[in-house]
């Protein structure tokens, strides 16, 4: 194990470590904690210049205000409308593409695979004008499905990489055996491979959920109004209206951050498994 376990060090070092840990964490999350505190500060504190002193009270009304007086609830619902179909779509498509690329040794295999991988890395800006134009032409501009369709397509790249490597690591004998039994390819996929994919599906679902929830660029490019804008773009336009009202900006920020944070803490193992794919051999 590296570094040497702290338990093997002197008591002084152990003592130091046990102090350093929370202090480092506090410093690390300092900006976030500041915003969390500000979100509960009454507006009057900010007006009087009391930004960091003792708050004069806990102002849950900041949260009530943004829910009742701004469309933030609608924005969050819009985000779900985009995020959930994207998760389902991208995971389903990539299960199939991943299966195709992992199991069959056809000639273009590696080419198709690399294309998915490379596409996953291209800068969004090179897609922006044509995708926006196409979405407009199809009458899907400013709709949740217009945005979700693009996300499904784009996320398929990353998901295919993941699924293909995951299926490659499954025992191939299972598939061979089934083929000898005369099981059709579709049934192999459905009854043999799919049940083994649960961890991969879980990992990808949480990852894609987080990516899409946090997406800002495409939300700006493909949606525009309260009716379909997701929370990231919505928060940005609310920020334009909440100038100098940091208690509201903070409360909105915390709300926007909550769902992916909850997702992360609930599905931590899968989340990290997905992110660190390829980090170990």
């Amino acid at each position: 194990m590296f570094p040497r376990p702290i338990q093997q060090s002197s008591t002084g070092a152990q003592w130091l470590y046990s102090i350093a840990l929370p202090v480092a964490l506090l410093l690390w999350l300092f900006p976030l904690l500041g915003v969390a505190l500000t979100s509960l500060r009454p507006a009057s504190d900010l007006a009087q210049g009391n930004y960091f002193g003792m708050p004069s009270g806990i102002a849950w009304e900041n949260y009530i205000y943004i829910f009742t007086e701004t469309p933030i609830g609608q924005y969050m619902v819009n985000s779900l409308w985009v995020t959930i179909p994207t998760v389902i779509g991208a995971v389903s498509l990539s299960l199939m593409t991943g299966f195709a690329l992992a199991v069959y040794g056809f000639r273009a295999n590696i080419l198709v695979f690399f294309m998915f991988v490379a596409g996953n890395f291209v800068p969004f800006q090179i897609l922006m004008v044509p995708v926006r134009d196409m979405t407009l032409q199809l009458g899907m501009y400013d709709t949740w499905y217009g945005l979700a369709l693009f996300h499904i397509a784009f996320q398929t790249g990353f998901c295919t990489l993941f699924m293909r490597n995951f299926i490659k690591a499954l025992p191939f004998e299972l598939i061979e055996a089934a083929r000898v039994e005369g099981v059709t390819e579709w049934r192999i996929f459905w009854y043999i491979v799919l049940p083994l994919m649960r961890p991969a599906i879980a990992a990808l679902s949480v990852l894609v959920f987080t990516f899409i929830w946090n997406d800002f660029f495409w939300a700006t490019v493909l949606t525009q109004g309260v009716d379909s804008q997701p929370i990231t773009a919505g928060l940005s336009s609310l920020n334009g209206q909440w100038i100098a009202q940091w208690h509201l900006v903070s409360a909105g920020s915390i709300l926007a951050a909550l769902p992916p944070v909850a997702m992360f803490f609930l599905m931590q193992k899968h989340f990290i498994a997905g992110l660190t794919l390829g980090a170990v051999k």
Partner: protein, 417 residues
């Protein structure tokens, strides 16, 4: 029995009435707009008045948020055009006119005598001799000042005739000594700086210079342009230091708290100042001081407009509505509700509002001309490059040569000589 029958009859009659009302299908006029709540309410009232006078027409207003609208208009004009759309006059409407998306409404102007009643807006509504816009409101720019800040610094507040430029700058020294920003602004959105620059430019060289500069006809390295920056340089040390990181509303807070004495702004900011606790007693307004003696005074007054789209389904009724929007009566009512100035010379202004009256007086006596504002008089890209330069000068005045050089190159590229 009788009662019952009568009731049934009445019910049947009511049903027939309502179905006939449905069958009678009102003629629909669609209108896309980007109003904040107060002007939205005023517009809804305007529509109600129009519909009362024209019961066979149903006006359907779709309101967008202000920022999103700039983007949305490009989509709906081609994909799904309404009959009417809000936009801005002068160069800002040019791309849509040139793409054939806004329709020629010279007939509305001619048939309603608008060239007389909207005389001050003819130029900004016209492209290649045809009118493409109906102006219905504008608002003055000028200098708002905080009397409390004057008192705190021991400076005599300006009288009704304003102050001279030399006195203004001398006062700035006094404010600085008292720890008060003489002029505040918040330039994250860049346009507030353009307001200051425009006034310096109008006061140093006059209206025609402003128009030619915005039109790319004047070199940034010319002596006239340098003269504007020389005045800008005199003001620069007295402007709030971190203006580039704050919004204009943040700067409004600095102003209302008395930490700054002046704010070069449009009249729409009065609402924000009053929300910040100012009243007619300590908030003052003056026109921007004269710089070059004898130059006819020009003012900034951006005009908002409504346009007929080329894809309009119901152009005839839409034109009726446009004519109504142009009328003195409609403009008086709309602008009274919003606190802005009507463009129709036959309209009246609420005399009890000192800022509106001052603005009305300032604009009606502006013999030099009415400018739209830098970012409406200039082409969008040129405007943006210019505002980058103004903002940079206000942060780094020592970079003047580099700024002028860059702007001049942009001018030569966008306006090939």
């Amino acid at each position: 029995m009788v009662h019952k029958k009568a009731g049934a009859l009445a019910l049947a009659a009511a049903l027939m009435l309502s179905t006939s009302a449905f069958a009678q299908d009102k003629r629909v006029v669609t209108w896309n707009a980007d109003y904040d709540p107060i002007p939205l309410a005023a517009t809804e009232a305007l529509i109600a008045d129009f519909e009362a006078a024209n019961p066979e027409i149903d006006v359907q207003l779709t309101n967008f948020d202000h920022e999103g609208y700039k983007n949305a208009i490009r989509n709906f004009l081609t994909a799904d055009p309404p009959d009417l759309a809000n936009w801005y006059a002068a160069n800002r409407m040019r791309p849509f006119v040139e793409a054939g998306l806004f329709a020629d409404i010279s007939d509305v102007w001619a048939n309603n005598g608008l060239t007389e009643s909207l005389a001050s807006s003819v130029l900004s509504s016209t492209i290649d001799g045809k009118q493409y816009a109906i102006p219905y409101t504008y608002y003055q720019w000028g200098i708002y000042y905080n009397r409390d800040a004057y008192a705190a610094a021991g400076v005599t507040p300006p009288g009704p005739e304003g102050v001279s430029w030399a006195d203004f700058l001398a006062n700035c020294e006094k404010f600085k000594a008292a720890g008060i920003d003489c002029v505040t602004t918040g330039s994250v959105a860049k346009w507030p700086v353009a307001g200051i620059f425009d006034y310096l430019s109008l006061r140093t060289n006059g209206y025609q210079f402003h128009a030619d500069l915005a039109g790319g006809k004047i070199s940034w390295t010319s002596p006239e342009a340098r003269a504007v920056f020389a005045e800008f340089g005199k003001l620069q040390p007295f402007v709030t230091e971190n203006h580039a990181a704050i919004d204009w509303q943040d700067a409004a807070a600095i102003f209302t708290q008395g930490k700054a004495a002046h704010y070069v702004m449009g009249n729409f900011a009065v609402g924000v100042f009053k929300e910040g606790g100012m009243t007619n007693d300590n908030l003052g307004f003056m026109v921007f001081p004269e710089i070059t003696p004898g130059i006819a005074r020009a003012e900034e007054a951006p005009t908002d407009t409504v346009h007929l789209t080329s894809g309009a389904q119901n152009p005839d009724d839409a034109k009726l509505l446009l004519a109504y929007i142009a009328s003195a009566e409609a403009q008086t009512k709309w602008n009274a509700a919003v606190g802005q100035l009507p463009t129709n010379s036959g309209s009246t202004v609420d005399a009890a509002d000192p800022f509106l009256s001052a603005g009305f007086a300032s604009l009606s006596s502006a013999t030099g001309g009415i400018a739209q504002f830098w970012d409406r008089d200039a082409d969008a890209e040129y405007a943006s490059l210019g505002m980058d330069g103004f903002q940079q000068f206000l942060v780094q005045p020592e970079e003047l040569e580099a700024i002028l050089e860059r702007l001049e190159q942009a001018r030569l590229r966008l306006f090939p000589q």
